[in-house]
Chain length 281, copies 2
């Protein structure tokens, strides 16, 4: 007899699709819930239920009927929900005051409250590591190119900065090169941070030659890995390549590589490395 | 008899002009050296010598003739110098290899080497605090509007983040609002960091209402205050106002407020506060 199914609430991005495929291969009873306006069409096509922002009552009903007791929350939310525009139902009205309070404070705070909502309803939130373990980066270099000694020093510097800001729920990525921290991610997210590297170089604010600058991405030490695992994907690789960067370093076992084969292919084409390193915690 | 004069090497920005005026009022023998392409026209007009990038020999000669033994380095350098394009002289060729090595590593590293150059030639580098002490922000609120209790918590959070990243020579400013660190300055500098706040808000990556977000600016703990004192000025105030921000908090006694009267006037017009707070070191 197969294990009890996991329900996946699949929001934006390719990763949700990969999770669905891995999870359904492992257990065909996996329940897929998509979010209209956030989930990709391929995810919506595979969904058992497609809900709109704020249809909390529908969500509760769908979960109850599915028999799932474990829930994976996956994928990006492009915007914080605008509560004046959601397709609310009665259950939403009941939850609204509590949800609205989640919209101030850091991301971690929001996610803790979302988890609290599911847990108080009797569900256990699981991580990608439990639901689709093959998606996590294992220690080592994935690409033909590997980081050199200077790159490894830059990666260590980047990890040290991430560790220093971890208590403040700032961000989970930095760009480092030639001993210099060029960019620190905060509310803008990883992609805009990578994009400003090109401008920083054009203004000669860093003295980098040829391909230089490493995206270093790791978990915040206080981050809840069940709902907020850092992810890189082919778009991350393309953005780093376009910014003239040299590679990507992620924390082994705690960062997801979406569409791994495509990531490696693109990185090899551009001559970038992708490296996963063990971080002492 | 007046004190021995200070030579001011006046680069970009309004602050150099203010320093010249305060220093000449205190000692008419103050020697003003402008940098072509960096100094403002008003500074060039008041200069005893106007040098180009890399005219190190001319600089040494000008300093020797002036009788100054103290040097104030002030103002911004818009770009790291391109050594293929400098108007070099013989002395520059001698220094070039040493100067080129200063162009990797953090700003602090560059500045340490520039200081080393002057000190090894027998000059003492002085800070704005010594040369023009009235330009530093004293503890307290300068504007009609003052930070409230929540603002003070945000300021404390910003100062804590700056303190955490200080060992890594990252940057000297952050933007914080409603308990959230929205932006951290690294190589891009303070102005682009402020400018991205508008985009962060439009994308609803922070849940701020009305005027919100405080620019918190302090010295890096390992920073050499003789050559790298943080500065705010009227353009900083205008940028913060344009980004919908609520105020500016600076470290008292260690941040320069350029064109103070104009800063206060603009901040009052927009309803922003400017507050200088004591930081324990």
């Amino acid at each position: 007899m197969s294990e009890s199914p996991i329900a996946i609430i699949a929001c934006g991005g390719l990763l949700a699709l990969e999770c669905i495929e891995q999870m359904r291969a492992a257990n065909p009873r996996t329940v897929v819930i998509a979010l209209a306006g956030e989930s990709r069409p391929e995810v919506v096509d595979r969904a058992d239920h497609v809900l709109k922002w704020g249809q909390v009552g529908q969500l509760v009903k769908a979960l109850e009927r599915s028999g799932a007791r474990r829930v994976l929350l996956i994928g990006s939310i492009s915007q914080r929900p605008d509560f004046r525009a959601v397709a609310g139902d009665l259950e939403t009205l009941k939850w609204l005051p509590r949800l609205v309070t989640t919209m101030s404070g850091g991301d971690d705070n929001v996610l803790r409250k979302v988890i609290g909502f599911f847990e108080s309803s009797g569900y256990r939130i699981v991580s990608v590591a439990e639901a689709a373990p093959n998606l996590l980066a294992a220690e080592g270099t994935l690409t033909r190119k590997a980081p050199g000694a200077a790159d490894r020093r830059d990666i260590d510097l980047g990890l040290a900065v991430l560790d220093a800001i971890a208590p403040f729920d700032v961000g989970q990525a930095v760009v480092v090169g030639a001993g210099r921290v060029a960019a620190v991610e905060a509310a803008e997210g990883t992609d805009p941070m990578i994009e400003r590297i090109a401008e920083i170089r054009r203004q000669r604010r860093v003295a980098w030659k040829e391909r230089a600058g490493i995206l270093v991405k790791a978990t915040k030490s206080q981050q809840d890995l069940r709902v907020d695992l850092p992810v890189i994907g082919p778009e991350t690789v393309e953005r780093c390549a376009a910014a003239g960067m040299a590679g990507i370093a992620v924390e082994a076992g705690r960062v997801v590589i979406a569409a791994r084969a495509v990531c490696i292919e693109r990185a090899d084409e551009h001559g970038l490395f992708i490296h996963a390193c063990r971080v002492a915690r």
